[in-house]
């Protein structure tokens, strides 16, 4: 959905303003027109344009709306603090329809029509994978917020980076120590039978084995399935933990039927909040989840020890202490993922300032500046926690949260360290030429 939850986006209004006749005045004031103050001055005060490839429609719309709200809030904060290199930041929003084909078109519009300096914001993996080659051809830095492993796996290119959110491989393997040491070593995995589920299966099987545990059963559910009871008898009796990553419209049905199958005598349950992102944990049918565990990219509920910078971030993006919109307590945010937009924008700012970025001719310098980044401390720029960027793989690493459903809220039980999520490099993008 469009410009986030709030429509009072002065940012994109400004871009419109420039296009609508007021542009001539604005450009004259900035000194671009002949006979005015000259180009150098204009260049230094012209806005930095960031193309936001947004899932405004299509299957990613629920995420797109909150990515928009977070982007607006982050850019407002950057502009309030003086912009980037003294220049204001302007976000140009284009709807990619959560469609890889359209995603590539949108990148082209950013580069050729809107004259954007960089592109940013994509979540869904297939859109990233469909768009990244075009970013490479256009030589347009493309900062994705997708958590897919495709960046670090080496399948993309030097122009595509993921500095603001960790990838699924890191998330999954960092869960294994906690699961093995606290919940149990014999794990049954239940996952949807396609790439998303297969990633979880492969990454976790390897990681739990390294912790001395084992996956005793792998139950792949066809993506079109909407009833699950017949799969549950395949869960071995010896199972100590069920690891589930169901997604899609049938996820509440899955939880309800799992509850009906086990009753009070269930094994431990561990899941990924992706299953219930933007869904109220207190929804009817989810009572069975009380006492179970979830990975969270960022804790949805404000924790007792919430840092001030996180409190400020929560207020800026318009989310209350239960992870819902401050305007409607039923409107639950995609809180576990959207911080990635905030952090990525701050990294773009830091990269541009470090590279003394002046315009598109400095795009390669910008990428090199970001590649040179390593540790980023937790704070107002990185409210989710500290990050460690790997310039070779273009992928960031960070803390992961494991929360327990307690009285219908997610309470953080364990924070996995950056080190828990590290793995061997699979690519060195810095070896590729621009």
């Amino acid at each position: 959905m469009s410009n986030g939850t709030s429509k009072t986006s002065k940012i994109s209004r400004r871009s419109a303003l420039l296009g609508m006749g007021a542009g001539a005045g604005a450009l004259a004031a900035a000194g671009v027109l002949p006979g005015t103050m000259g180009f150098a001055q204009a260049q230094s005060s012209a806005p930095i344009k960031i193309g936001f490839q947004k899932h405004a429609t299509g299957i990613g719309a629920a995420y797109g709306r909150w990515y928009g709200a977070t982007t607006d809030a982050a850019v407002k904060r950057i502009n309030d603090a003086g912009g980037i290199n003294g220049r204001p930041v302007e976000v140009v929003v284009e709807d990619d329809g959560t469609d890889p084909g359209r995603g590539a078109e949108v990148l082209e519009k950013f580069a050729n029509q809107h004259n954007c300096d960089v592109a940013f914001g994509t979540l869904f993996s297939h859109v990233v994978i469909g768009s990244a080659p075009r970013a490479g051809e256009l030589k347009l830095p493309y900062f994705v917020v997708s958590e897919g492993h495709h960046v670090a796996s080496g399948m993309l290119n030097r122009y595509t980076l993921q500095p603001g959110i960790t990838d699924v491989k890191s998330q999954v393997i960092s869960m294994a120590p906690f699961v093995a040491n606290n919940l149990g070593k014999k794990v049954t995995m239940i996952y949807p039978d396609f790439a998303f589920g297969h990633d979880h299966r492969d990454f976790f099987s390897e990681a739990i084995a390294a912790q001395g545990g084992e996956v005793v059963a792998k139950i792949a559910i066809p993506p079109t399935e909407t009833s699950f009871t017949r799969y549950f008898p395949s869960i071995p009796r010896e199972t100590e933990v069920i690891y589930h990553v169901m997604v899609g419209p049938a996820v509440l049905t899955f939880v309800k039927e799992l509850g009906e199958f086990f009753g009070p005598n269930r094994p431990e349950l561990f899941g990924f909040i992706d299953s219930l992102e933007a869904v109220d944990i207190k929804s009817s049918g989810l009572e069975f989840l009380e006492g179970t565990y979830f990975w969270e990219g960022m804790p949805r509920y404000a924790q007792a020890d919430q840092a001030d910078y996180e409190k400020d971030y929560r207020a800026a993006v318009g989310v209350d202490e239960n992870g819902a919109s401050i305007a409607d307590s039923k409107d639950v945010a995609t809180y576990a993922h959207m911080f990635g937009c905030w952090e990525t924008l701050n990294i773009i700012k830091a990269g541009m300032e470090s590279a003394d970025y002046q315009g598109p001719q400095d795009r390669a310098k910008l990428i090199e500046a970001v590649e040179a980044m390593t540790d980023m401390p937790a704070g107002a720029d990185h409210p989710q926690g500290a990050k460690r960027f790997n310039g070779k793989t273009h992928q960031t690493f960070g803390s992961q949260y494991i929360s327990k459903v307690t009285d219908g809220k997610l309470v953080v039980e364990h924070t996995a360290s950056i080190e828990d999520g590290l793995y061997e490099d699979e690519v060195d993008y810095t070896a590729q030429s621009f």
Binding site: M1, S2, N3, T5, S6, K7, T8, S9, S12, R13, R14, S15, A16, L17, G19, M20, G21, A56, T57, G58, A61, A62, R65, V92, V93, D95, G97, T98, D99, P100, R102, G103, E105, K109, H126, P192, F194, P223, T224, T226, V247, G248, P249, A250, V251, L252, T253, K256, A278, V279, D280, S283, S284, G285, S325, I326, D328, K330, D331, V332
Partner: protein, 447 residues
Amino acid sequence: MAHPAEQAFVLLLPTDVYATAGTLAVILSIVLVTCVRPQLLRGFFSARDLGRWPVLPTAAVSISALASLVYGLLVYVGFYGPSDPQNNLLPLTVWTAWWIAAFVVQGLVLDIWRLINPWEGLHRLVFEDAAGPLRLPEWLQAWPAVCIFLAFQGFVLADIAPNDPRRLASFALGYWVFTFAGMTLFGRAAWLAQVECFTVLFRLIGSLRPVDLQGRFKLGFVGWQSLLDAPLDLSRAVFCLIILASGSFDGLHETFWWLGRIGVNPLEFPGRSAVIAQSLLGLYASNAALIGIFALSVWIGIKTLAAVSSETHTPFATAFCTFAIAILPIALGYHIAHYLVTLMIQGQYVLSTLSDPLARGWNLFGLGDLRITTGFLNTQASVKVIWLTQAGAVVVSHVISVLMTHHLAGRFCNKNKDLISIQIGLSVLMIAYTIFGLWLLASPRGA
């Protein structure tokens, strides 16, 4: 637009129980209506004259001329306004205010198309009543409009980015010029009646309105005016069917079932660009299928009537063109059911964008601070209300269609046995379509 939470709650609702109840309601209406003589229904479908109503042709022309100006401004905003479709008044007006909302207003409340169509008023002001130099042959009927409407539906369902403001502005400008030129060359009335598909569409849908304000204030049951139009010519009869078929496929093409047919993983929908051919093929096949099934249903009725009664001979073409108008309520009911949730979300974007229609940082009406929410899709209780409203629209529209069909059957025969016979195929179709419509609402969606 996919909203996983809403879908998840729908799957937890006892939709099979609701669907059974809805289908039984339609079956019951068929049974009851056979006990009612057509004369009684005739009274039911005749309007009450509640007195004079002022006709203000000048006002209508002025408002329509103003609509041309607004249309021009919207096209301008489309070209030069924000690139974000949910922040740009052109796509919001076209797809939400007009295609979703004005369609329903036209069918239930007032002849809004007469006021907002962006050609008629301006054309009257410029050319008065001058006929064009060329003539559209009568045998063409409204077939050009049928073809253009099918192309429009293809754009709605299969285009990669129908929301893109600049893309939409190009289409809107092109279609405006095409229509205005056509009206000028071939005459305003003929072009609007035969080629301009939205005028044909809105006249058909508008005939469902309970209120008629052309000089007198007349009030009747939904559809009473439509019955006066029957039999339609063949092109308009087919138009009634393609409104419903296209709307139905719009719902169907998002379902797990359809995605399974075209080999797409519904949890990993690859985007509209990956299924353009499939969507177009499905759309046009659905249209052909519904026309075929409807024709078969009418034919079965005629053959059954001929078998039980030797008194009458009913020409197939006349029956087809007569009964087709009874499809309109279902088309409107599907439209309401299909777009209700989209309207609830996009309507908020329309309101907040209206605060700043030219994207100049204004905050008219104080609506610019509106925070868009989809929280109503996040609780079991609100999703249940929404679902039952959608299902209600589907069931009620079928019941109205049953009543209209029965009324129309009275034009071909009188005896109760004959009336049941001629409607037998259509009754089965009504029941099957109710089941289909409620199944659509309850089906998991992935696109």
